[in-house]
């Protein structure tokens, strides 16, 4: 067991830290869920990318640094510790890009990844449909074969970023036969499409705080050329599942985010008059510190297992439940520390609190994650699902 970084990793950390210290905007950007904030975040991605910090774990030819998992985790830690902006390209980088690496063609990677890395093209995800939340296999939106490509029709929802993004990716039913025969996971195909193509209507949906953090997409015979099909036609479910796995695992939620949040919480607590005497709040602040450390070390252990060639598997469900509940508890503690200001919309903690509330819902509800933990990690009998 070893927690000492090599000199190379330390050098990498210092390089990242120095760049971030010099470049992170002194004042937070406007919310990325507004038109103005979206543009500001896109500009930030361009700056990150120009210095090759936007996608450190990608190969150099697509704009990355070929960093291994250890460096990626170190970069994320520094990134969040520096108070750098949220990543508007997150969906593309952590959901679509891994799929292209695994299932895309070289032509697709060369075409899609560099503008994703630079923020020139921002991607939205288009998984859910109104009747298919947790139950993704019941998707109905379809793609019908046409000359040189496919025509998409249907209704997607909870498409995060779609209010302002450029393109989207999702799975569509290209063959209705298997579903009719009781095999709904078959006959689905993974496609990329343009949110400004004819036939696309984007209706932004206001989040709890009113910001259009996601949108509904109404698709009416939207043309998608064959070059924008990822992997084999009809294999979309299998391909999407590996992508979903990533969303739940390391790629979305590096510990740096939570370490930085716990750090801010401690500062808030220490800055509060008479705060230290209140052991009830102290205990919750301590729990946030311990939780961030636990998540960090859990992630290092996962990274070491992955580096040793062992797959992550169902442990990513433990991960998802932990960070999503951790994140809410931390932000609730912050609001309580703020006292009468805790309910104000305008504090630094309000938007992240609202964002945290969604954690147990998206990327597989925590109810489903607990079923997976019980069945796959503990071997308990499958219940009705």
């Amino acid at each position: 067991m070893d927690l000492t970084p090599t000199p190379e990793v330390t050098a990498f950390r210092e390089e990242a830290r120095a760049w971030l210290r010099a470049h992170v905007p002194a004042r937070p950007l406007p919310s990325l869920e507004t038109a103005e904030g979206f543009a500001a975040h896109r500009a930030w991605e361009a700056r990150l990318s120009a210095a090759r910090w936007s996608v450190v774990s990608w190969p150099e030819r697509y704009g990355g640094r070929g960093a291994d998992l250890e460096r990626w985790l170190v970069f994320e830690e520094e990134y969040w510790a520096a108070g750098a902006p949220g990543r508007v390209s997150q969906n593309g980088i952590s959901l679509l890009a891994p799929t292209l690496f695994d299932h895309g063609t070289e032509e697709q990677r060369a075409r899609v990844l560099p503008p994703m890395a630079s923020g020139e093209v921002v991607w939205a995800q288009a998984w859910s449909e109104p009747e298919s939340g947790s139950d993704l296999a019941s998707l109905r939106s379809k793609a019908v074969r046409t000359e040189g490509g496919w025509l998409l029709s249907g209704h997607k929802t909870w498409s995060s970023r779609a209010a302002f993004a450029d393109r989207a990716f999702g799975i569509f039913r290209t063959d209705p036969q298997p579903a009719a025969a009781g095999r709904p996971h078959r006959g689905l195909t993974y496609l990329m499409f343009d949110l400004r193509a004819p036939g696309v209507t984007v209706r932004p949906i206001g989040r709890l705080d009113g910001k259009p953090a996601f949108a509904e997409l109404f698709l009416d015979e939207v043309f998608v050329p064959d070059e924008d099909v990822i992997g084999e036609v009809g294999e979309g479910w299998r391909i999407a599942m590996s992508t979903t796995g990533d969303e739940r695992g390391l790629t979305l939620r590096a510990p740096g985010r939570f370490l930085a949040a716990a750090d801010r919480l401690v500062r808030l607590w220490r800055g509060r008059e008479g705060g230290a005497a209140d052991t009830a709040l102290r205990d919750r602040v301590a729990d946030a510190v311990v939780g961030a450390r636990a998540y960090e070390l859990f992630t290092w252990a996962s990274a070491a297992r992955i580096a040793a060639g062992r797959a992550a598997g169902a442990e990513s469900s433990l991960n998802k439940v932990f960070w999503s509940e951790y994140d809410i508890a931390l932000h609730e503690t912050a609001l309580d520390l703020l006292g009468a200001d805790g309910e104000l919309e305008g504090t630094d903690w309000a938007e992240p609190y609202v964002f945290a509330l969604a954690g147990p819902i998206y990327a597989g509800t925590n109810e489903i994650q607990r079923d997976i933990i019980a069945e796959r990690l503990l071997g308990l009998p499958k219940g009705r699902r």
Binding site: S128, G133, R207, A340, E343, V354, P360, I361, T365, N366
Partner: protein, 326 residues
């Protein structure tokens, strides 16, 4: 000893509920949040006509009260339907204001808001109140000459501003403790109603929403979470009405703690069990979802209420929180 609502008290709840059910309160609340106060004021007038504010005012000043149990009954309904505005504050102000203001308040013609010494620096919805009151540590009641820019709350139907210092001295030696008790008790009642609305809507939703070919409400994890939500509300309810009966400070703090906590728990449950659709502003549910936490903290955070409960425990004349009898 008969710890049950009387028929008249139950009738009051029904009357208000049917008035509110016919009033498009969600629309009123959205308009209020957008700064259009007219529908809210119209609703305020209808509630006044039904006797709401008169319950807070003594008979000699053209009221019917003060009747804390009836007020608690009413505020549960106000919470349940999500009525916006400084309702609690107006009723609390009735305990402080000089007699000449009370007939107007009872008639619904005087919306007031206030801060009390030692409490939050913010007054709720001062832009919607005819009187913004402050009380000095010495018990002087002032009509604030203005207030800071109203700041948006995470509940869009609430705005908060710090009243300006000074202003006209309206009265001295006012019963601050009584105003705080009222505000705390009725916020508890309102929170209970909010929690009830959240639970009712969530139960209805999980019966109808299917996933994996089954109503979501058939999953045991969902059932148990809703059972716990009901449990918290059903044990908060007798505390709220018990506090209305005894008006003991410890009881009032206990009611606020329990009802506020139960409402916030109901909000977390409602959000989780609605899934993504619950997380949107569009769904009516958001009206209550965003109200639960501010109400949990208004006029007494959980920590303040717990401290009060223990400070009052065993107080002379009231064994226990108060224990019912001696």
């Amino acid at each position: 000893m008969r710890f049950l609502l009387t028929d008249e008290q139950s009738d009051l709840a029904r009357t208000l509920a049917s008035l509110l059910a016919a009033s498009d309160v969600p629309g009123v609340a959205r308009a209020w949040a957008a700064g259009d106060l007219a529908p809210g004021r119209a609703l305020w007038a209808r509630l006044a006509k039904a006797g709401l504010f008169a319950l807070a005012v003594p008979e000699e000043h053209e009221g019917l009260g003060p009747l804390p149990v009836e007020l608690a009954v009413a505020f549960v309904e106000l919470g349940r339907y999500g009525v916006p505005g400084p309702l609690v504050e107006t009723v609390a102000a009735a305990a402080l204001l000089p007699a000449e203001h009370l007939p107007a308040l009872a008639a619904g013609d005087l919306a007031a808001t206030l801060t009390l010494p030692g409490g939050s620096p913010y007054a709720l919805d001062p832009h919607a109140a005819a009187l913004v009151l402050t009380v000095s540590a010495q018990g002087g009641l002032y009509a604030a000459p203005g207030h800071g820019e109203p700041l948006p709350s995470m509940d869009p139907a609430r705005r908060l501003a710090v009243p300006a210092a000074g202003g006209a001295l309206l009265a001295t030696g006012v019963p601050t403790a009584e105003a705080l008790r009222r505000a705390r008790l009725l916020t508890a009642a309102q929170a209970l109603g909010v929690g009830q609305a959240l639970l009712e809507r969530t139960v209805a939703y999980v019966k109808q929403r299917t996933q994996f070919g089954t109503p979501v409400g058939a999953f045991q994890a969902v059932k148990h979470r809703l059972a716990d939500t009901l449990l918290a509300l059903e044990f908060a309810r007798p505390l709220v009405f018990g506090a209305a009966v005894t008006t003991a400070d410890g009881d009032v703090a206990a009611a606020k703690l329990a009802a506020g906590g139960a409402a916030y728990r109901a909000a977390r449950t409602a959000l989780q069990l609605h899934g993504a659709v619950g997380y949107t502003q569009e769904l009516e549910l958001s009206l209550w979802l965003r109200k639960a936490r501010p109400l949990r903290d208004a006029w007494g955070t959980p920590a303040q209420c717990r401290a009060e409960v223990l400070a009052r425990y065993g107080e002379a004349g009231r064994t226990a929180t108060a224990r019912l009898t001696t």
